[in-house]
């Protein structure tokens, strides 16, 4: 489990970055950069991309008068060009306690990865939170937080690599870290440090946090949210709406553990809730159908809420390769 001592270089997997090479995160909507870049700007500047003609008014710069049009029409027009600017990416990373969950792989996977280890209880943070168990699980698939951290690091690298600016915010029940966007290559180091740093973990409180961040992200950009979104959907969607109101391009990446989706438990199990939500002793076999109905309803409400807000929704399963998920999404977005 990554904690405050997670080394930054661990978050950058060369293999992942190699597969992401060549990809670019383009803003689907207009973003406000501060230098010329790949992305459409709301301003009409003086780039090479012709936009329209405008009648001359006194005070306009004569350098942009279209003399050819003046020669033909005897009227003075100014040539306007669409400005292209750089992208500002805001990475919003959920570091709440629920993101620490990491299940053991299914039997088939476990056999192939762990060999003869049978009957191991689901790994993750036990009641006592022994790190050794988490480490053992890391050999199979990471926790949601690890997965999200890796994804955030890869995206930061990707954005910086395409000459765009990137910032970061981490949160649980409040904003823990906030790094302003910068396109400097040196930005990567503090970003990775901040991504790897996770402090006191609390309950997820996405809704208020999104409202706060929407206020604090002053320029339009691409907001990439990496979270399991285990919060009240209505509150969370209200926060997203705030982002959209501030004209941000929003990408919601919901990071989920396969066990949370499939609920593969068979024997009676005592489930100890993270984020201090109590514990339940249930027979999973009898409860699976009802659980899946509830969880599917939640997932659908989030997905449909995102689509209704004009935000992209991406489901990231921690048992799937990150590079494959990101590559698929990037290709689709382009």
């Amino acid at each position: 489990m990554p904690n405050s001592s997670t080394p930054p270089e661990r978050l950058i997997d060369p293999a992942v970055l190699a597969r992401l090479k060549g990809l670019r995160l383009r803003a689907e909507r207009i973003v406000e950069g501060f230098v010329s870049g790949l992305h459409r700007s709301p301003y009409h500047g003086f780039s090479n991309e012709f936009a329209e003609h405008r009648e001359y008014v006194p005070g306009d710069d004569l350098r942009y008068v279209d003399w050819r049009a003046f020669g033909k029409t005897d009227k003075v027009y100014l040539k306007q060009y669409e400005e292209e600017t750089n992208l500002i990416g805001y990475l919003v990373l959920d570091i709440s306690e629920s993101m620490l969950y990491q299940s053991e792989p299914t039997n088939a996977v476990k056999k192939s990865l762990i060999g003869k280890k049978k009957g191991n209880p689901p790994k993750g943070k036990t009641a006592k939170g022994k790190p050794a168990e988490v480490k053992a699980v890391n050999e199979t698939h990471p926790s949601k937080l690890e997965y999200a951290q890796t994804a955030a690091a890869a995206l930061a690298y990707l954005i910086l690599n395409q000459q765009d600016a990137v910032g970061l915010a981490t949160f649980d029940d409040s904003v823990r870290t906030l790094i302003k966007p910068s396109g400097s290559p040196s930005q990567l180091t503090p970003l990775l440090s901040a991504i790897g740093e996770t402090g006191e973990r609390e309950k997820t409180s996405a809704g208020p946090i999104f409202h706060e961040l929407a206020e604090r992200f002053s320029r339009r950009g691409v907001v990439i949210i990496l979270s399991d979104l285990f919060d009240d959907p209505e509150s969370m969607l209200a926060g997203l709406k705030h982002f959209r109101h501030r004209r941000h391009d929003v990408i919601v990446m919901q990071v989920l553990d396969p066990a949370e989706l499939d609920f593969p438990f068979q024997q009676p199990t005592l489930f100890k809730g993270l984020e201090r939500l109590g514990e339940l002793l249930v027979d999973p076999a009898r409860l699976r159908k009802a659980y899946q109905e509830e969880f599917t309803a939640f997932q659908k409400s989030v997905a449909s809420g995102c689509r209704s807000q004009g935000a992209d929704y991406v489901l990231l399963r921690t048992d799937q390769p990150l590079e494959a998920a990101l590559t698929a999404y990037m290709h689709r977005r382009q």
Binding site: E97, S98, M99, L100, Y101, P121, P122, G124, K125, T126, A127, K144, D228, F230, D257, E260, F265, Q267, P268, T269, L270, F271, K272, G273, L274, E275, L277, G278, E279, L280, L281, V282, A285, R286, L287, K289, A290, Y291, E293, E294, F295, F298
Partner: protein, 774 residues
């Protein structure tokens, strides 16, 4: 203690909690549903098990033990089959069977079969369920008619007996399974009730001899009950009385058929077109075919077959007329005398029994007539009119003898005896003549100047009952002097006789009339009385044949006695003044005719010196004599026919005395039965429950046919029935009928079936619920 479950952390605990709540709600709903089903199962089983208590009145009066009296109309019309070849009586039995099966075990049943053809089975009073079911199986359709009034009268008697029987439930219900045919039920319509009420004091003299004397006490054909009902109560009163003590329901077994759309074809009549049939001559048989329920349309072509002695003689194809019967004439000839049979049959329809009709012919080789003359030449004109040419091959063969020879002649050798101007008869002679007529012989009396009326009275004719009466008789109002003289003389010779004894004597005399002294009252014409009598009927339309101009100067006054109606006495021909000239009457199996004047021209009026009548020389004499012979001679087929259920008999003459006291009767199905001859040489056979020819001693045959009225399946108008009767249609959904009758017997079965269905449902639902939660 060893831990029995695993422990893990879980991020999505809120969904687990929501799932638990959802699961709990679903389980709760499922448990409630299962609880409801299981409770319903227990409740239904308890209710079904509690049926005996429910029957005892917890659910109301309909469940009280009931004495159900089931009346079955087993008349011919109930044999009408539907499209599935199921007869109405079979449907009625099925309904009754279901009713009994579904009824309470405490119910009791009495079954009655209402028909004229079979006696009602007795000993079926208040049967339990099993016995009632067995009795229903034994009920069979008959070929007779049914009078529902007889059935209801029997019910009334039954219920009167029931009051003294402790084992029979107090509550009773009468169910009459019938097709409500008009023929049977017209006696219970409102108009019929009114008519009967107005005529309640009159006896029904037209009642035929239905039923046998040895039938059961409660017999459908019991004339006592019918008579008791008709005379004492009347249908309205009877039904009123019954309705006060029970419920009267008629189950309409023909409700599914259109009211008048039931088509039936039948042979409704078969008879000889002529009388005095003899062998060796061609006879004409007339058949009548009827097409009932035809709705004004002629029938399809139907094949009609004539059979003589069982052999098909002729086949014709006819279309029956829509209005009235269709007549067909067939010639038939039998070379030998004796018993023969003729039948006519048509193609089958849904009521097969009435598609054939039989005619029994007991043919003579010739008609022998004995002419007895009281004076020389008195019978010559009569004999000449019977066989004018003396042809020995003639069908009529007269033989003239004197009155002195009568005592030595076996009269049974002759088919008819004509007495012409015979002055008097001795007691033995009178007895001989009476027996002869009683056994079926025919006797004709021509009076004349030799006649001594006082010698006839008390021997052959009646004694006058008003000899001492001070009031003049209207009969002699025109000739008071002659009447007074004549009867004073009679009074002196019979002064010891009383009124009662004379009445009793009149009942046993051969002639139901009084013979008065001769009077001179010239009449130059005769009154044919609308040609109503068969003797004069041939003169209808032939006014110039001489009948109306026949002159009669002197004659004996004839007066009918009180018992003349019983003896079917009729005035065939009258004089212009109204005095009867020819009177015919019945005596036993034979008939008589009395002619008030002479049969020859030798009777001379002493006052005027003229002949009594010129009639013997008149052209009308020959047809009149022959008509009288035809009238009194028992026809070849007439005495040998009866309807189903009626009894037939024939007195044995002296010449036919049997050595044994038994007779052999061969039934239509070739089975033989022996019947006893009583001391009076009389016998009677009443088991005529089959159609066809019955042979007696292989020498005499009787045709037993259906009552043709039963072939008309027209239903009585339901709204015309007495209001005391509730008519319920018998539908194919028998359960509805049973429920309609107030039966609750199916409740427990329904409850158990519901419980079984719920048990199966519970198993399936529990399985589904278990699988869903697994």
């Amino acid at each position: 203690m060893r831990q029995t479950h695993k422990t893990t952390t879980w991020a999505a605990i809120r969904f687990l909690q929501a799932a638990l709540e959802r699961q709990a709600r679903r389980l709760q709903l499922q448990h409630w549903l299962l609880l409801a089903i299981r409770t319903a199962i227990l409740l239904l089983i308890v209710l079904a098990a509690a049926k005996p208590f429910l029957d005892q009145g917890l659910l109301g009066g309909n469940d009280q033990p009931t004495h159900r009296i089931l009346l079955f109309d087993t008349s011919l019309s109930m044999s009408y089959a539907n499209e599935q070849e199921v007869t109405r009586i079979e449907q009625a039995k099925q309904l009754a069977k279901q009713l009994v099966e579904e009824g309470s075990s405490a119910d009791r049943y009495t079954l009655m079969s209402v028909t004229s053809a079979e006696p009602l089975e007795t000993g079926q009073f208040a049967l339990d369920r099993q016995a009632a079911l067995a009795a229903i199986k034994r009920i069979e359709p008959t070929l007779g008619t049914a009078d529902p009034l007889v059935g209801f009268a029997a019910v009334k008697r039954l219920l009167a007996q029931q009051t003294t029987t402790d084992t029979v439930p107090d509550r009773s219900e009468v169910l009459f399974f019938s097709d409500l045919s008009k023929n049977s039920w017209s006696s219970l319509t409102k108009s019929s009730n009114e008519n009967r009420s107005s005529n309640s004091g009159e006896s029904d003299r037209g009642e035929t001899n239905r039923g046998d004397a040895d039938r059961g006490e409660v017999s459908s054909g019991d004339p006592l009950i019918a008579e008791e009902n008709r005379i004492e109560a009347g249908p309205n009163t009877l039904l009123d009385q019954l309705a006060e003590i029970t419920t009267l329901t008629v189950v309409d077994m023909a409700a599914t058929n259109p009211t008048n759309g039931v088509v039936n074809q039948a042979v409704t009549s078969l008879e000889l077109s002529e009388s005095l049939a003899t062998s060796g001559r061609e006879l004409e048989v007339r058949a009548e075919l009827s097409h009932f329920g035809n709705m004004g349309e002629a029938s399809e072509s139907t094949t009609v077959e004539l059979l003589a002695d069982g052999v098909v003689l002729k086949t014709e194809t006819v279309r029956m007329l829509p209005n009235g019967p269709t007549s067909l004439d067939f010639p038939v000839k039998f070379d030998r005398e004796g018993a023969h049979s003729v039948s006519v049959r048509i193609q089958g329809d849904r009521l097969k029994q009435d598609n054939e009709r039989w005619l029994a012919l007991n043919l003579r080789s010739e008609v022998r007539v004995l002419c007895v003359e009281g004076s020389r030449g008195a019978a010559q004109h009569v004999a000449d009119s019977l066989n004018p040419t003396g042809n020995p091959e003639s069908a009529l063969q007269p033989e003239i003898v004197t009155d002195a020879d009568v005592s030595g002649i076996d009269l049974t050798r002759f088919d008819c005896v004509i007495f012409c101007n015979v002055a008097e008869f001795g007691i033995n002679e009178a007895a001989q003549i009476k027996q002869y007529v009683q056994e079926g012989g025919g006797a004709i009396f021509f009076l004349g100047d030799q006649i001594r009326p006082d010698r006839y009275r008390g021997i052959l004719s009646a004694e006058p009952s008003n000899l001492t009466s001070a009031e003049p008789s209207p009969f002699f109002s025109e000739e008071p002097i002659i009447r007074q003289v004549a009867f004073e003389a009679d009074s002196s010779s019979a002064d010891s006789s009383s009124v009662d004894s004379s009445s009793a004597g009149a009942a046993s005399t051969l002639l139901p009339l009084l013979i008065g002294a001769p009077i001179t009252n010239p009449s130059f014409g005769l009154d044919p009385l609308d040609y109503a009598h068969p003797i004069v009927e041939p003169f209808r339309g032939r006014e110039r044949a001489g009948l109306l101009t026949t002159s009669v100067s002197r004659y004996h006054q004839l007066e009918l006695t009180d018992n003349s109606l019983e003896r079917n006495a009729q005035v065939a021909l009258a004089l212009k003044g109204g005095d009867p000239l020819i009177i015919t009457s019945q005596f036993g199996q034979g008939r008589t005719a009395v002619v008030a004047t002479a049969a020859s021209l030798k009777s001379i009026d002493p006052e005027t010196g003229e002949v009594w009548t010129a009639m013997p020389a008149w052209p009308s004499f020959l047809p009149l004599v022959r008509g009288m012979v035809r009238s009194v001679v028992t026809d070849a087929s007439e005495s040998s026919a009866c309807l189903i259920g009626e009894s037939f008999s024939k007195p044995l003459g002296n010449s036919r005395l049997k050595v044994s006291n038994q007779l052999l009767v061969t039934r239509p199905d070739e089975s033989n039965e022996t019947i006893a001859i009583n001391a009076d040489q009389a016998w009677s056979y009443g088991r005529t429950n089959m159609l066809g020819i019955y042979e007696v001693d292989n020498s005499w045959s009787v045709a037993v046919n259906l009552d043709p009225s039963e072939s008309d399946l027209t239903r009585v108008a339901l709204d015309s029935l007495s209001p005391q009767l509730t008519v319920r249609p018998a539908t194919t959904a028998t359960q509805r009928v049973v429920e309609a009758f107030g039966g609750n017997a199916g409740i427990h079965r329904t409850l158990l079936l519901l419980a079984l269905a719920l048990v199966l449902t519970e198993s399936v639902v529990a399985c589904l619920f278990g699988r869903g939660s697994a």
